[in-house]
Subunit: 577 residues, 2 copies
C-alpha cells in the first residue's frame, strides 16, 4: 500500500486521505512532524485554538524488524513552551501506523460541540465517533475499553483527565505490548489533543500487513550489524538492561550533578534508597521483571515490571527521570511512594518530569514540605486528577507554580522543567537545555553521554571547553535519529561503534531503495533544527530565551561548587552551522 497521510478535521468531523507530497517523502518521525507543523501552523497561534495541529508520525524505520525502531513522534505547537514541539514514545502504535502505510496522521480544527471523540484507524481509513462513555477516565481504563472493543492487538493513543482539562503538563499515552502505557511526555501535547476533543485513537492492523523493503538482503545484513552493536555496547547491552535507566541515579549522584532539593545540591544523601541497583534487587525479591521492552523489537529492554511489597503489579517504564524528579528533587526517598506516583501520573496523563519538578518548586514555595511523598500522592490523586484549583495550578507546570509562589529558583528553560542533570555540573547538557528548540530537554542532545559516561569521547563536564560543539553535534544527530523512529539509546553504540552508525544509514537506504550518505543524514538533522528554530523565531522567541534561569549563575552547586558560567555570546555560537 502506498504511503499516505490522513487529515482529520475536528471542526467538521471529516477525514481526508492525501498523498505524501514529494518533498516530504524522505521524512519521518520528528523530521516530518516538525516540517508539517512549521508549514501549516501559524507560529503565533494559540496552542489550544483551532489553528494548532497535532501530528502523529512513525519513524522512517518503524514497522520494520530494525531493533528499537518503534518510536512514535507527536508534533504541535506546545501549550507549555509556546515553541514547536516533538515528543516521542514507544508502545505499539508507531509500528502499526507504519504497517498501515500511514506516514502522518494530522488532527486539525476543533469541534463546536461540547463532546468527546475517538478515532479508529484501520486499513480502511479513519473513522470518528462520539465517545460519551470515556470522559474523565484515566489512561488505563481507556486502554482497557479499546482493547475490549477492538481486541487485544489494538494500538491505543490516549489522554487522561489532564489532557481533557488541557493542562500544560498533560502528556499523550501510547499502549505498550503489555497493555500498559508509554508517554510522549513533554510539552503538554496532551492538552493539544484535548483541545481537539480527541480522547483516544485506536489502531488495528491486519496480521499480514508489513512495510515494504526495497532491498531486503541489504536490509537484513544492516539490521543484524545494528542489533549486535546494541548488544555489545556496555551501556545499551549491560547497564540499561540490568538496572533500567535508573542505573544513572548513582552515576549522576557520584558526578555531583543529581539535582536535589529543587536544584540546591548536586547529591542526594538518600540516593541509595532510590538507585537502579536497589530497584533491581527489589524487583527480583518481589517477583517482577528487570528486563522489559516498551515496544516489540527492543533489544535494550531498559523497562521493567515493578511490583509492590505484596508482589502485585505497580508500574513499568519506571524511569530515572521520574525517580529522580520525585526522589532527589523533592527529597522523597521511598521507592514505593515514587512508584505509586508514577502509576498515578501515567493514569492521569501528566509528564512525570514536569509534574514532579513542579512539586519541588511548590515545596520551595512552602505549599508542602520537602520529602512529603504522601502529600504528592494526595495532590496528584485528589487535586490534579479532579482539576481542583490546586490541581489546575500544579497542572500548569513548574514555571507557573514558581510565579504563583514568588519563587525565584525555578528550573525551567522556555517554561519547560529542567530534567535530571544539573547544568552547572554537567555543562554540556546545560547547552542543550538552553538551545533545544523545545525548551529544557535532555533527549534533544544528550551530552551526559560524553560528559559523564565517556561515550563518544570525553569532554570534562565541569569545564566550558567543547560543550557547545558537543551539544550541537548531538542535537543534529538526535534530530536525525528521532526521524528514523529509533530509541535515543541507540546513540550509545552509534557514537562509539562506527559500524552501528553506518548500519543505520544502510537500513534507511535499503528500506526505501535510496542512497543517502552519512553527510546526508547530518544535513537532515541540521535542516530539522533550522526548521524548528525558524518556527520559534517567527513565534517571537529570541536568543534571550536560550538562557538558563539566573540562579544557576548565582548559586554554587555543591559538591563541586560550580556555577553556570557561559555568556550569552558563547551560547549563541550554537546556531553557527
Amino acid at each position: 500500500m502506498a504511503d499516505r497521510m490522513y487529515r482529520v478535521n475536528m471542526t467538521d468531523l471529516t477525514v481526508k486521505t492525501e498523498d505524501v507530497p514529494e518533498q516530504w517523502a524522505g521524512l519521518g518521525g520528528r523530521g516530518l512532524t516538525s516540517t508539517i507543523v512549521a508549514a501549516e501552523v501559524p507560529p503565533t497561534c494559540h496552542p489550544l485554538g483551532p489553528d494548532n495541529k497535532l501530528v502523529f508520525a512513525p519513524g522512517l524505520l518503524s514497522g520494520t524488524v530494525t531493533a528499537n525502531s518503534g518510536r512514535l513522534s507527536v508534533g504541535a505547537k506546545s501549550p507549555l513552551t509556546g515553541t514547536i514541539k516533538e515528543s516521542n514514545a514507544g508502545g505499539t502504535a508507531s509500528q502499526q501506523l507504519a504497517k498501515l502505510g500511514i506516514k502522518a496522521l494530522i488532527i486539525e480544527g476543533q469541534p463546536e460541540k461540547d463532546a468527546w471523540y475517538s478515532l479508529h484507524v484501520t486499513a480502511d481509513g479513519v473513522t470518528i465517533s462520539e465517545e460519551p462513555g470515556l470522559t474523565g477516565k484515566g489512561n488505563f481504563a481507556v486502554v482497557n475499553a479499546m482493547v475490549e472493543r477492538h481486541g487485544d492487538r489494538t494500538g491505543v493513543i490516549s489522554i487522561g483527565p489532564a489532557g481533557e482539562m488541557k493542562m500544560a503538563v498533560a502528556n499523550i499515552s501510547v499502549k505498550d505490548p503489555e497493555g500498559k502505557v508509554r508517554s510522549a511526555g513533554r510539552g503538554g501535547l496532551g492538552a493539544v489533543m484535548g483541545s481537539k476533543r480527541v480522547k483516544c485513537i485506536a489502531v488495528n492492523v491486519p496480521r499480514e500487513a508489513a512495510v515494504p523493503i526495497a532491498e531486503p538482503e541489504k536490509f537484513k545484513t544492516a539490521v543484524r550489524v545494528f542489533a549486535r552493536a546494541l548488544q555489545e555496547h556496555p551501556v545499551s547491552g549491560q547497564g540499561l538492561p540490568t538496572y533500567g535507566t535508573s542505573v544513572l541515579i548513582n552515576v549522576i549522584n557520584e558526578a555531583g550533578g543529581l539535582p536535589t532539593r529543587n536544584f540546591r545540591y548536586g547529591q542526594f544523601e538518600h540516593h541509595d534508597n532510590i538507585s537502579g541497583e536497589t530497584m533491581h534487587d527489589l524487583i527480583e525479591k518481589r517477583g517482577g521483571k528487570t528486563r522489559h521492552g516498551c515496544h516489540m523489537g527492543c533489544v535494550i529492554q531498559c523497562s521493567q515490571i515493578f511490583n509492590d511489597a505484596n508482589g502485585k503489579y505497580k508500574t513499568s517504564g519506571f524511569e530515572y527521570e521520574s525517580i529522580w524528579a520525585m526522589g532527589a528533587d523533592c527529597c522523597v526517598d521511598d521507592l514505593d511512594q515514587i512508584a505509586e506516583a508514577d502509576s498515578l501520573m501515567d493514569d492521569i496523563g501528566v509528564d512525570t518530569i514536569e509534574t514532579s519538578v513542579t512539586m519541588g518548586v511548590a515545596m520551595e514555595g512552602g505549599l508542602l514540605p520537602f520529602g512529603d511523598g504522601a502529600g504528592i500522592l494526595r495532590i496528584l490523586d485528589q487535586d490534579v486528577r479532579r482539576g481542583t484549583p490546586l490541581g489546575r495550578l500544579i497542572g500548569s507546570g513548574a514555571g507557573a507554580v514558581g510565579k504563583a509562589y514568588g519563587v525565584t529558583r525555578v528550573p525551567v528553560v522556555k517554561n519547560q522543567a529542567i530534567p535530571a542533570y544539573d547544568p552547572r555540573a554537567v555543562k554540556g547538557i546545560g547547552i542543550t537545555y538552553c538551545t533545544s528548540t523545545m525548551g529544557a530537554d535532555h533527549t534533544a542532545g544528550y551530552a551526559v553521554a560524553t560528559n559523564i559516561l565517556k561515550v563518544g569521547g570525553d569532554v570534562d563536564p565541569l569545564k566550558k571547553e567543547g560543550q557547545v560543539e558537543l551539544s550541537r553535534n548531538l542535537q543534529i544527530a538526535t534530530a536525525a535519529l528521532d526521524s528514523a523512529g529509533l530509541c535515543i539509546f541507540v546513540a550509545f553504540p552509534a557514537l562509539d561503534i562506527p559500524e552501528a552508525f553506518t548500519a543505520i544509514v544502510d537500513m534507511i537506504n535499503a528500506r526505501f531503495g535510496i542512497s543517502l550518505t552519512a553527510d546526508d543524514v547530518t544535513e537532515l538533522g541540521k535542516n530539522i533544527l533550522r526548521t524548528e528554530h525558524q518556527f520559534n523565531l517567527a513565534a517571537g522567541f529570541t536568543n534571550k530565551d536560550d538562557r538558563l534561569p539566573e540562579f544557576f549563575s548565582r548559586e554554587e552547586l555543591p559538591p563541586h561548587n560550580v556555577v553556570w558560567d557561559f555568556t550569552g555570546e558563547e551560547i549563541d555560537e550554537f546556531w553557527n552551522f
Copy 2:
C-alpha cells in the same frame, strides 16, 4: 535643599545619598523611573531577584501648587509582564517627597534574612527598621499603624499581604489625604516591593518645606490658566466631578465597547445598575461624598466617598475600571458587592483590573459562575488574602488562570489584563494595548478620548484609519505628562484647549528656570518611549508581543459585530517615529 536621590540597599541595609546626575536633572516621574530602570536593571533579570530595582519618583511639578500634579511614579521590571514598568498613583507621598527635595528613592538588593522592614523618609534622610509587627497586615492597618507612630500628616507607601506573597497582581498603595489608599496598580510592582522585603515607607515633611520655584510670577500665572482650563473643560470640569470615572459605564456601553462576560459582548444589560449616575444617586442618598480628590490640589475631584446601605464608609476611589471589571466583565450587577470587593482589594493590595479580569477568565474556565459576586468576595477574602493555592492562582493574574483552565479567550497583552474598552469597538485603544511598553494599559495612550468622547478630534472608533497615529501621539504626550506628575485627566483640556497645554510647558519652565518648547516636551515623550522599548527588546520582547490575543480577530463583538482587523505590519507602524 538641593535635589538628591536616596539609594536604599536592602542587601546590606544601608542608605546612600547621591546627587542627581546632570543628565537626569530634567527628568521626573515616569521619565526618571524608566531612565533609572533602563540604566541600572539588567533587562533579562528575574523581576523578583536582587538585580531588579524599585524606583519611586515624584513628577516635575509635584509638590507645587499646580492643580492635579501629585502623582507618584513607581518603576521596576514587572513580574507580571516582564517588561519595564511605570505605574503611578495619587495620594500624598509624591508631594511630600518633592518637598523633601527627593528626586528619586531607589530600593535595590534583597535581604538574606527572613524579616520585614520599613523605611522612614524625613528631612534627615532615610532610616531602615525591622518591622516584625506588620507582617500579613492589610494596607489599612499599615496606614493606621504609621499614622499612629509618626502622626496624621505622615505619608505612607505600603504593600498588603499580596505584595508580601509576591503575587503578580500585587499593587503598591499610597495613603491619600483622608487616610485611605490610592494604588500604583498595574504590573505587580507590589511583588517587587515584597521581594525587597519592604512592607512600608513612611514619609514626614517639615511644615515649612516647599519646592523652590525659579520664576514665581510666571509660575503663578500659568498655574491659574491651567486650573481654569481644567474647570472649563466639560469632561474634567463636569462629567468627572459629578459622576466620577464611572460616568463612562453608560457612555462606553452605548458605544458598544463595554467588555462584558469576559469580552464576549460590547454591552451589559444591567449597565444601569452599576453606572456613574446610579452611584451618584446612591452616594447622595446614603450621605457619602460625590466629589473628592485623591491628592491635595486636585480640582477635578473624580473620587468619592461611597457608603454602604447603613451610611457607613465602604470605599473611595471607586473607579470605572474596577466597577466595569467586576461588574460587566464578570456580570455582577450589585454595586454594593463591587464596593465591598474594591475595599477588600485595596486592603489586600491587588490591582482591581488584573484581579477582576482574572475572575472573569476563571468564570469562563468554570471555576465559578458568571455573576457570582459573593463567590468573588469569598475568594478575595479567604483565598487571595490568605494565599491558599486558589489565592495564589488568582494572584498570578488573568494569563496564568487562562493557562491553568485551558481557556483560549484570555484578554491580555504581554500577560497584562486588558482594561475596560473592547479593542474591537474602540480600535484606537487597541493600538495602545498592543504597543504600550507596559502591556495592555489604557492610561498609556487614552485613545478613547478621541474615539468616543471626541476630545482632541474625532477618529471613528470602528475604523482602522488614523488609529495608529492617534495612539502614537497620545502615548508620546502621556509619557511626558507622566513625567510631570500630572493626573492623566489633564489631557482632556490639554487636548482641546491650546492654552492648557502651553500652561503645562510654562509651569515646568518657571519651576526650573528653563525654556523648554512644546517640541522639547514631545521629544521628551518620544525619548521615554524609546528608552522603555529598548529595555523590552533587550529583555527578549519582539513585535510578536505587540499583538492582541487571536480571539479578538476571530470573534465578532456585538452589537457592532466588529473584529480586530489590524495586520502586524500596520501595528508595527507605531514605532516609526
